[in-house]
Symmetry: C2
Subunit: 348 residues, 2 copies
């Protein structure tokens, strides 16, 4: 065994260590911390290198790389999207991510990101709802009770003060699973048997269903004034959840317009449909919610900067802990020109 | 510790295991095997998804992602290029790579690629020289004696029958290092003190210098007829090694024209300068070398498909060996919709 130098070692956070870290910090605290990191990066949105995601499509799914950089650190996420996987006992989405030092180009963190993406997606939704939801909003309808539903519910509790969630899924078993998982978290959980029933009295409507098809989870007549819609599930071409009429009546907020116009709910609208970039609201240059009658809609598709914030958080948080181990991933010969010599000296 | 399922585990080849594997197989055999994998993929070039590399530039370097797919597997390489690193005791280039299954989107291999890139670059050069070098070529000038030089020399020996290498570098210490490393490999090694001396009697001229600047390593009057030039070092905008006059007199062969016109030697020429795609020569649809007077020039910048071939080789070669270990990198709950439940059950 040849001992690599420190620079050749990349801290790695496994799924097991990510779960241990989350339990050590506390899941609601992690969601709050992530929301703070994401909010900080939205405030300096303009200085990021916003490369579009790089997608490789096949008949059954997509594999994407989502890179970004703030000039000091560089991050990317590998993520797949395979809706048919669920029926084969696999995750629709798996992910891992990497953070590197822009100055040297050397990676400084490799981490699982399936769990981390679920956490950052929920933290982003709740951080945005803090700006857009009507004052005193304490009830959320959670429509679609899949893998993201409990994370959304807890983030809205921890960050926005939601106390009650009304669950609906076309599969009652999903609702039952979500309700069971939220038992003991302090949230009041109501199982509903129709979307209409789920949105009764709710100030925040979160839609997060998984089918890759244009579905209408919320019809126009279901949505009254004064609510905030948190639309998570419409996130690729051909996949939307809301009736176009709702979009017309709403003020729509997005992460990054060029991406959202392709992947988000607004793919149903004209290319010049008016949207507000969320970073402008958070940095104080554009208004968020103006009155209690307004319908606000966060058309969220997930953006690389949110992953970057999550990677920064994990890098900072694992310092001086044992929630990682070092991977011998980079060759680092004593003399940089002597890679061959390093290989030769490793001969048995 | 929660036991992840098989699907959550990604085989990982560390630097140490890569070196053990190379010594186990034998470096010349690895180079021959890699050349065969690369040649096979050049023969089916047209079916690859040829996404351009995704670069993030800074004042001091570049970080790139190089993805590609053949429809069954998907691969990408992370690679940095930081010329100033050498003066700080770091590698100019470090790399790692990943192979995934297109059908599920799940990664199936993570591997160091600093050593593997050095091997695949040399294997590509030699595989191409097999088609383009004049018959009976047995002497190579190796101009630039950095990290790639020994790999180039051994690949040309193993794949093209080169028996003698003539080394030159502006830094005599680099030449000395290269000569020492090649001692005992069976190659006749000649240390030269000028480029003019290095190319004396050589049929293959390999240029591989590292500075990010337009340099003229070979001037027009140095290159006579009947040679094959293997130009490795010109591989980013603003970095070239050959006088334009040489390009005008040569038949130029490239990997992927849209990339080479930006990064290769031909960035010095008009946008419609005639080049031949190497895959067309290898698949038999275009001629390679036509006569013994011709100057052939492989303007190599490195392409994602070569990394893909190398990843395929490593995936195949580590089967039933202990040159890898499994990383718990992908969350894989029993019920795909119950990611939260998996996290909850991991509570201490």
């Amino acid at each position: 065994m040849n001992q690599p130098s420190d620079k050749a070692l990349v801290p790695f956070v496994s799924v097991d260590n990510m779960m241990r870290l989350v339990h050590h910090v506390g899941i609601e605290q992690v969601l709050c911390d992530l929301a703070a990191y994401i909010e900080a990066d939205f405030k300096r949105w303009e200085l990021f290198d916003k490369t579009p995601r790089v997608a490789s499509h096949s008949d059954v799914g997509v594999i994407e790389l989502m890179p970004t950089s703030d000039g000091e650190a560089y991050g990317f996420k590998y993520v797949n999207g395979h809706p048919k996987n669920t029926s084969e006992g696999l995750q629709t989405v798996t992910a891992f991510g990497l953070l590197a030092d822009v100055y040297t180009g050397y990676p400084v963190l490799l981490t699982e990101m399936t769990i981390l993406t679920a956490l950052r997606t929920a933290a982003t939704s709740a951080m945005v709802a803090k700006y857009l939801a009507p004052k005193g909003a304490d009830t959320m309808a959670m429509i679609g009770n899949g893998a993201q539903s409990e994370f959304q519910s807890l983030a809205m509790k921890a960050i926005c003060g939601v106390t009650s969630v009304r669950l609906y899924d076309q599969d009652p078993a999903a609702t039952e699973k979500c309700a069971r998982n939220l038992d003991g978290t302090g949230l009041k959980v109501v199982r509903c048997t129709s979307p209409e029933s789920a949105i009764e009295g709710a100030h925040i409507l979160t839609t997060c269903t998984a089918d890759k098809q244009c579905a209408t989870i919320l019809t126009d007549n279901m949505v009254g004034s004064g609510v905030h819609i948190n639309a998570i599930g419409g996130d690729c071409p051909g996949k939307t959840e809301l009736a176009p009429g709702i979009l017309s009546r709403s003020d729509v907020f997005v992460e990054y317009p060029p991406q959202t116009r392709i992947e988000g709910e607004i793919q149903q609208m004209a290319p010049d449909f008016t949207v507000t970039e969320m970073w402008e609201v958070i940095s104080g240059t554009k208004p968020g919610r103006r009155d209690n009658r307004q319908i606000t809609l966060f058309d969220s598709v997930g953006f690389a900067i949110e992953d970057f914030s999550a990677l920064r958080y994990i890098r900072d948080r694992i310092k001086d802990t044992d929630y990682f181990f070092d991977l011998d991933m980079l060759a680092d010969p004593d003399d940089p020109r002597d890679l061959f010599g390093m290989l030769q000296r490793a001969a048995p």
